[in-house]
Symmetry: C2
Subunit: 186 residues, 2 copies
């Protein structure tokens, strides 16, 4: 039996996740049948489900990674960077992502698996740092700033996913910045 | 045969819609079976589907009315009023509403039925008036202000529907106002 390196295993997992993501984006979660997953990934169901327990498992892994990526950008680079990333994101993948966020509302186990409390701590830390460095207003409670940022981010994700006219992202970023930047004393 | 007045017909339609709304909020769209619709409305399926063609029809009628109600508030009373109305809305009904908005992405016919171009014109007219009266900034294109407002409104709807911690609506309204109110010359 040939020796299977960790590197090989990781590469195979990544290959499967990339293909699954394409299949979900193209066909939606429900429409991404096992046959379509096989086609897009280029591996047999046996190989795919050797690495992942189920289709839901594949999706959760992708969705958790996506969530964390945006939360990390929000914590490290600020709201503006997340808004620009979302505006440039693949609308079809965002669609699947939001459909599934909505499904979480009815599925406590799935919600549990998607939760990332340590990421929330990172976010709070990132915003506190932005306040300390004078990039973020301090006259409004941090939790209210976090809520505002999440609401704009989620609203933009909905908008991009829904298609329609392209958004003027510079104006949006400017308006959000007007809400969040430190106030000058009057 | 007793004479059936228009008033009676309207009252019956309203009664059916109110019950259907409760059933959708309680059980979700998919979970609101015909038996549950009968139970919540208090009428037989024969009576219900004498007034409405299908369950989807009931839903579309409710969703269109809801959409228009919020758009009217946005056009006439401004973003602040919509945000406050949403924060006080029934989360369960908002959930159904958003789930269905998401379904529209895959259903061109349904999307067509939900569209309300005349409401969009009202919205533009309302915001232009707000600019003329000095309640809304004029140094950003109106379409960018409309986009920002819709994004915040949809983001808040998602948040309220998703449950979780209650939102500090006064702070949210204050931040949105900081983004939208007329700039003082520097």
């Amino acid at each position: 039996m040939p020796k299977v390196t960790q590197e090989h295993l990781d590469a195979r997992r990544t290959e499967i996740l990339d293909g699954a993501r394409r299949a979900f984006a193209k066909h939606g979660y429900a429409g991404a049948t096992v046959a379509r997953l096989e086609e897009e990934i280029g591996l047999s169901r046996g190989a795919i489900f050797h690495y992942f327990e189920s289709k839901l498992d594949l999706f959760v892994e992708l969705a958790v990674a996506e969530n964390r990526r945006y939360q990390r950008v929000l914590a490290e680079e600020g709201v503006e960077a997340v808004l620009r990333a979302l505006a440039a994101a693949d609308p079809q993948w965002l669609t699947v992502f939001i459909e599934t966020e909505v499904r979480l509302w009815h599925d406590a186990e799935l919600e549990q698996r998607m939760a990332s409390p340590e990421q929330e701590e990172l976010l709070i830390a990132g915003l506190s740092r932005a306040q300390a460095e004078g990039r973020l207003r301090t006259d409004v409670e941090l939790v209210a700033l976090v809520d505002f940022a999440s609401i704009v981010v989620n609203g933009l994700a909905l908008r991009v996913a829904g298609g329609g006219d392209p958004i003027d992202i510079d104006s949006l970023v400017g308006l959000v910045d007007d809400a969040l930047r430190p106030r000058e004393p009057r």
